[in-house]
């Protein structure tokens, strides 16, 4: 129960942050992504402000052994810079640049009730479903001695 309260509260604070920083506004985000235009560095400060907190809070040495309300930290274990990571991130960047929305502001943007937000979100969910069809390549098996 407490975990659900935390999830909702963290979501509200995150959404508030996106609102305060105007990152819910695709025009504001595109102002950052348009280096050759009238450049607006705000997004860099949003990331910087967030990282100022998370760089400290996420430190392994400063963290408790396990989360206060859960059995363990659910952290990614992959370490390889593989094709999925590179290709996926490149494609994400194209979509982000086309519209000015990444997943967080797209969901938070529901607060503005625009039909265009719903269209984008529906397409985003469809894209997520499509990505599930791409099989993960198996890890290369250890080579047997000849």
């Amino acid at each position: 129960m407490m975990r659900l309260v935390v999830a909702l509260s963290a979501g509200v604070i995150f959404g508030l942050g996106l609102g305060v920083s105007q990152m819910v506004d695709p025009a504001k985000v595109l102002g950052f992504l348009d280096l050759a235009g009238s450049w607006d560095p705000s997004l860099a400060l949003v990331m910087g402000g967030a990282l100022a907190v998370t760089l400290v809070a996420f430190r392994k040495r400063l963290r408790p052994e396990r989360p206060v309300l859960a059995g363990r930290f659910e952290l990614p274990t992959a370490t390889a810079l593989d094709a999925r990571l590179l290709l996926g991130s490149a494609l994400f960047g194209v979509g982000w640049g086309l519209v000015g929305l990444c997943p967080g502001p797209a969901v938070a943007g529901l607060a503005y009730g625009l039909p265009a937000t719903m269209v984008f979100l529906a397409a985003m969910v469809a894209g997520m479903a499509l990505a599930r069809l791409i099989p993960k390549l198996p890890k290369p098996a250890a080579r047997k001695p000849a």
Partner: protein, 141 residues
């Protein structure tokens, strides 16, 4: 740089950092929006409600700021229908394939000093810069 809003950007960023830290230190979860949303496509018992609540919270928080924040407040989502659909598909597909977005890789992954997240963030930033340049300055007027 007439649109630069350093103070609200920094305050908003700190709030996002606090939210991500809460979710990790209390619940043990990474506040990556694409991962949290994507997890709903393969629902597991006991793993659905927190995702829905977090996502609902995002919209609620933005709505709250819309109510109490300074006027005027509006967002400009100006793409044509095909652009919105193509953008949505690419963002959804790309973030799941690449295992994260601006929040999961950018805010949480970089904080863990993950080589994958630092690389992913550099790649999607670069690709977005190029995309906007091409759309606005090569094809645009």
């Amino acid at each position: 740089m007439e649109n630069f809003t350093p103070v609200s950007a920094l305050i908003g960023g700190l709030l996002i950092g606090v939210a991500a830290s809460m979710l990790l230190l209390l619940n043990g979860r990474i506040a990556g929006i694409s991962g949290i949303a994507g997890g709903l496509l393969s629902p597991a018992r006991g793993d659905v409600a927190w995702r829905l609540l977090f996502l609902a919270g995002l919209a609620l928080g933005a709505a709250l700021w819309r109510l109490v924040g300074p006027e005027p407040q509006a967002i400009a989502l100006t793409g044509s229908l095909p652009t919105l659909i193509a953008g949505g598909l690419l963002v959804g597909f790309g973030t799941r394939l690449g295992g994260g977005c601006t929040s999961g890789h950018g805010v949480c992954g970089i904080a863990r000093l993950s080589k994958r997240s630092i690389t992913a963030t550099a790649v999607f930033m670069a690709s977005a810069f190029v995309t906007v340049f091409v759309v606005r300055h090569v094809f645009g007027g």
